[in-house]
Amino acid sequence: MRDTPLSNCERDFLLKAIQETKRLDGRQTYDYRSIKISFGTDYGCCFVDLGKTRIMAQVSCELITPKENRPNEGLIFFNIELSPMASPAFEMGRQSELLVKLNRQLERCLRNSKCIDTESLCVVSGEKVWQIRVDVHLLNHDGNLMDAASIAAIAGLCHFRRPDVGIQGEEVTVYSTEERDPIPLSIYHMPICVSFSFFQQGTYLLVDPCEREERVMDGLLMIAMNKHREICSIQSSGGIMLLKDQVLRCSKIASVKVSEITELINKALENDKKARKTGGKFGFAESLPQERITALKTDVSHVEMSDVKEKANEIVQRAEVPPQTVPSPVLTAPGTGQVGEGLENSWGLEEEEEEEDETVELKMELEEGHEEKGKGDVVVISDSDSEEEDVVILNQVTTKEKASSSNQQGAVASKQQQKKKKKKKRGQ
């Protein structure tokens, strides 16, 4: 779909209004729209509302081999996507100029400023490092995408927790969220972009332009700063000429805005942490206000009850006889068994019973202790009829519990549980 074109009268009106320092929504020249930051249920999922502009960022991680010339450093990958639901001008799958520009700016702002400690992402030097991936999705476009994207990305990175890793000699164990608490990334500082739009060849300046102001502007200046007043990146687009004192003035305004926004992000992170600790409700669903326009409403319906008893009896009599269940298995011929129709499964019945007893005892042992890896005590049963490729039963004689890492232990326990379930099903 095509975007609505800008009419001449709108353009004239906007420029005239800016000359009188009036904005469409009544803001002052240096005012931001209201920013709202909320987090989702996953760690690393962040929604940012900048007025009507809405952006979602999601941070995730995985283990990969590092680059050859930097074996000690982890990798960070940024990706911005302009969803077609944001504006009729965006089409899925087409790389527009705006998209490339936004991607480059976000990378420059967050990667080149070294705000994340990449060396802490190293697990095994030269072999395994963490790759952090930041996906930013634009949900609604009402101007000033860069600011909202940078706020969402940095808030998501601060909120994200990566799985804990344990190294013992040669072995590396990645613990899941249930085993050990995930740990946050080490972030040195929070760079945030602030956008300035210029009109009438640089005479007039507006902070945080909305979509219509962006259409009539001459040029855009983007300054990325952190709250320690360090500039991380500056970009000027549109080809306007700016004077030195204009740029200095913009940087001063930017430092004020950045400190306000950083405080807002920290507060939002605090609230989320508190809500998670106290067990309160958190996540995206809770951040939306509930507005009901219509509850489940049905009309009064009268049900005739006079002949219910006779009808019920009729139905019961006419119903089919339920299938008969046989308590003991039926072996019609050697080597065959009857399965289903309420009869017991006779395949490998005796073996299953023995194994079941063993595994019940083993499970209790395993649940008690902590383990080290030991392969010598493992017995492999090759003629079992279970569907798993190899069934591993741990030796129950030795008192010292031998089990491998928690993953294998979990797998064995789950195999036992599956067998138990199968047994129960057959028995019914």
Binding site: R2, P5, L6, N8, C9, R11, F13, A17
Partner: protein, 275 residues
């Protein structure tokens, strides 16, 4: 089950954009007035797409004569059933007109509706106009008052035009004209120098254009201004100063979801100058 059922049906009438007449025969036990009264109970209730009213031809037709019920937008007839296809409030107008009053922002061109369009291109003998629908409409050079082949109208790309649809269906490209059937402009044509154009929902626009519009009356008391309202949700406002224009525009955008009470309070506050 063919047995007697004493269950009340909810009746929803569905119609396409054209008017459709339904002859309602009374169902066995229900009389016609009964059904209509169920229907009348629903006037003012919120109905959702998927609600069905089914009329079944009864075995015996009683002697009450069939009545015509006229259905408006949001209702659709499907054989013997009437389906609601838009969510909204069921409205009624005497003597027998029912329709669903729905709220949406996307405009679908309809014949005879007056809209505000933006000229996007000049090509050959026609202008291409963006009206906010899925397709751009075409407007001929000659469809202006006093326009001839030699005397072309003074229209540039990016101008606003207030015009009417003469062709607007889903199978053809929509067409606009800026004259009425007698050849007079009647308020239509190019306009817009100095004002502000903004977009609101279609429901608000219909409320503004209603004959006894309360919103319009409340607005008039504020200060003098010019306003052009297009049925495609676009509104153009011009007042003496830019500040006043901005005030009117923001007021209209914000009074969409307000009750009459809240709106009047807001307008009074603005008139007192506190905002």
């Amino acid at each position: 089950m063919g047995a007697l059922q004493q269950i009340y049906f909810r009746f929803c009438f569905f119609f396409l954009d054209f008017l459709c007449h339904i002859y309602c025969f009374p169902y066995q036990k229900c009389t016609f007035t009964d059904m209509l009264s169920c229907f009348k109970d629903k006037v003012g209730d919120v109905l959702l797409p998927g609600d069905v009213f089914s009329f079944q031809m009864p075995e015996s037709i009683t002697d009450s004569k069939p009545e015509k019920v006229v259905c408006g937008p949001g209702l659709r007839r499907n054989g013997d059933e009437v389906l609601v296809c838009k969510s909204g409030i069921l409205r009624h107008k005497q003597p027998n007109l029912y329709w669903i009053d729905s709220q949406q922002r996307r405009y679908v061109p309809g014949k005879g509706e007056s809209v505000i369009g933006i000229i996007t291109a000049k090509s050959g003998d026609i202008f291409k106009v963006d009206v906010g629908g899925s397709e751009q409409a075409s407007l001929s050079y000659l469809a202006f008052e006093g326009a001839t082949k030699r005397n072309r109208p003074n229209v540039q790309v990016g101008d606003l035009v207030y015009s009417q649809f003469i062709i607007a269906n889903k199978d053809m490209e929509p067409e606009l004209v800026c004259i009425d059937s007698c050849g007079r402009a009647n308020g239509m044509g190019v306009f817009g120098a100095g004002g502000l154009l903004f977009k609101v929902s279609l429901g608000l626009v219909r409320r503004l254009l209603a004959p006894q519009s309360e919103i319009a009356k409340d607005l008039e008391k504020m200060f003098p201004f010019e306003i052009v309202v297009g049925m495609n949700g676009r509104v153009w406002v011009k007042s003496k100063t830019i500040q006043q224009t901005l005030i009117v525009a923001n007021l209209l955008e914000s009074c969409e979801n307000m009750t009459a009470q809240q709106r009047q309070t807001l307008f009074r506050r603005v008139a007192d100058g506190s905002i």
